[in-house]
């Protein structure tokens, strides 16, 4: 329990969603600058929590992902940007606050006002965060003795999400989740605005983190401090709200219905709600015998609840596969 902890924060910086979030017509509007000030308090309290705690902040901007801040570059004064010294504030807080705000505003300036907005590069930010933690956990081979491994930080990633799921990011997000599981990284998700994200719900569930949908957005700081500041080892003692209704059923590729019993292609693992003679993804022809057998056993009333979203890929994700497997 004495281990230090590393926190990687991923900020979803999708301008459209943030402007929607700031609209006063919302029941609980949250403009970006308020969000930022809440966030800075939270980040400062994380570094203040324990001296060895480290921090990295990644941003998912439209079409690109950026590392805004990391503890190690802040420790290295030569690379850190010139920070005005302020006798009334702790130097690390000051460095963090200033460089983070400066860089975010610089990225927004670069962004300008494009006509069409690309979806935020959440996958890029997530994979970068995982690679960064991988580097922290495997420093240099010369150091890897048992007592050193006890000193390695306890890693976790907090995703502050505002934008909805992008269906073509299903496979990379799942791959990231599995590598996070391997590295024992806890993925926490705070959904600040927008519809529930099924992918991130699964991410939190599969890595033992918590997924929190923010209802009272103006209380963001309280949510952050009460739920996301404690390290995973402390969370065994205190109770953190968790999502217990994550649904892992799949949707078929043909009609997007949620299926209970599906027919799966053995080559590319596409899911269908009824026996089909040819796989629509990889063009594999299925033997006649199987089709007859499956049609025989098929229950007459297929449960086809018209629920639109769930955690399975859509057809377009697989479009590239068809050529590869033929």
């Amino acid at each position: 329990m004495d281990r230090s902890s590393h926190l990687s924060v991923i900020l979803d910086l999708c301008p459209t969603q943030w402007s929607l979030s700031a609209k006063p017509s919302n029941p609980h509007p949250l403009p970006f600058d308020t969000f930022l000030s809440h966030l800075l308090v939270f980040l400062n309290s994380h570094i203040a929590y324990k001296h060895e705690n480290s921090l990295a902040v990644f941003g998912a901007l439209p079409g690109k992902s950026v590392l805004f801040y990391s503890s190690e570059e802040a420790g290295d004064l030569s690379t850190a940007e010139v920070v005005q010294s302020d006798p009334n504030s702790y130097r690390f807080f000051k460095t963090l606050d200033q460089s983070l705000v400066q860089r975010i505003s610089r990225e927004f300036d670069i962004l300008g006002q494009p006509d069409t907005e690309e979806p935020p590069a959440l996958v890029g930010a997530l994979t970068k965060a995982i690679c960064y933690i991988n580097r922290l956990l495997h420093p240099a081979q010369t150091l890897s003795s048992p007592e050193d491994s006890a000193n390695l930080p306890e890693p976790r990633i907090l995703i502050l999400s505002v934008s909805p799921d992008a269906s073509n990011s299903y496979i990379p997000i799942m791959n990231s989740i599995f590598s996070a599981q391997k590295l024992k990284i806890t993925l926490d998700v705070c959904k600040i605005f927008g519809p529930d994200s099924v992918f991130l719900q699964q991410a939190a569930y599969l890595t033992g983190g918590s997924y929190i949908y923010l209802e009272h957005r103006e209380a963001l700081l309280q949510y952050l401090i009460m739920s996301f500041l404690p390290t995973p080892s402390i969370r065994k003692i205190i109770t953190i709200p968790t999502e217990d209704k994550t649904d892992f059923r799949a949707a078929c590729f043909c009609h997007k219905h949620i299926v209970d019993v599906g027919y799966v292609c053995s080559v590319c693992l596409s899911i269908f709600c009824q026996p089909v003679p040819v796989c629509s993804t990889c063009r594999t022809k299925f033997p006649m015998k199987t089709l007859q057998r499956l049609n025989m056993t098929r229950t007459p009333s297929q449960p086809s609840t018209p629920r639109p979203t769930n955690g399975t890929p859509t057809r377009q994700v697989f479009s590239g596969l068809a050529a590869n497997l033929r």
Partner: protein
Amino acid sequence: MPPRRHDDIMDVDSEGSDASLDYDGPRRKGKGKAPKKKDKGKSKVTEAPYAWEASYVRSWDTVQEDESGSLQTAVDDLIARGRRKRLLAPSKAIRRTIIRHLIIILDLSNSMTDRDMRPTRFDLTLEYTREFVNEWFDQNPLGQIGMVGMRAGVGERVGEMSGNPPDVLRAISERHKLEPTGDPSLQNAIEMAKSTMSHLPTHSSREILIIFGSLTTCDPGNIHETLESCIRDKIRISVVALAAEMKICRELCEKTGGQFGVAMNEGHFKDLLFELIPPPAQQTTSSALTARLASGAPANAPGNAGGDLMLMGFPTRLPDTSPPSLCVCHSELKSQGFLCPRCSAKVCDIPTDCDVCGLMIVSSPHLARSYHHLFPVKTYRAVMTTEETANSSPKCHACARMFQSPAPSGPGRKASTAGKADGSTSTTNGNSESNSIDGREGAAIDTGADGISALGRYRCTDCSNDFCADCDVFIHDVLHCCPGCER
């Protein structure tokens, strides 16, 4: 007789990566494709049939001191080379067997008590088998493993076929039940494994992995008939031998399309086992070949072997707060669990086959776990020249580590590699972007094909971002997603 090789340091290095392999015969599959050197024919005149006829390699020559007399850089270099070599395997999409069935045959004969591997062959085998099972299920979540032991001349069922890792591990958890004794019988064990897998559908693979410590086998009949029937049933047999090569073991592997290896030491034993973890490419061409070997057994549907529709159930997960009820698998009172969609029986763990109606129960993350085999990340190209790094970031795109600056390139060999690469890469750079893959191959061959970048930069051919060596390995081995392309 002095060894026939050049004094060029470059050559000594690449020879070195061959060195460790010459012990177990030059025909070892998978290892033979180490560096493709132009003068390969000179250093090995003909493929020597025995290890002692191969040219003598001094492994200590591969380690060179750097200017300060330290071995650290040489050691780092060797480690990097070893890790990088695995990545050079083809990364293009090939059809792989996703649904696998594997029987592990453990040798439990007297010869396993030998202490040539520490602590004993038997203990080491159990330990590695445990790691193997965990890693195997991680990469093949829809597969199933069964265990058979060879002891006292008979095959002995140690663990039933199961898709649940704890169940499989429980089978080998009790050491005293597996105490080695007597002689092994390959034929009995293979027959038992074969009958266990006889009912399996054609789209799944049937594999046998034999960990064999003995040099004899005590069979009731003709083992070649067993081999023929395995070929007919398309069972792929792989053998990891702990003692020495046996003719029958090699034959089993070669005729069924499996891999054969003799473990030289503890580390090599583990490597051999773990090579068998990634799902094998589906045998569309080789199945025709094995069919021909099996003296005229008809090859059925060579083009499209294996494609099939499978019935799978996606269960409803009961939340932890639901009222407790009995599960069908262990008859224990639990609140969490999964409901079979067809018969509403409650099972504890997925993926599994429903104990009541036999439906295969999976969840969508299990399917997703296999996708990375279907969409591999492209191999990154090693950046060789300093010109290429001119407009790229000074930091690794993934982990933000600073790249080493190219200026102090100490050993002359690095300079020469860079110089050599100069010509080819600059010409390929002149070509259009779409040709970049061909350019990569050209550059790789030119620089000794081990793909080590002197600058420590590896560039994605799609997004043109540079990554450090550690991230390169991590991305291809674990993450399966390029942070630059986001795919």
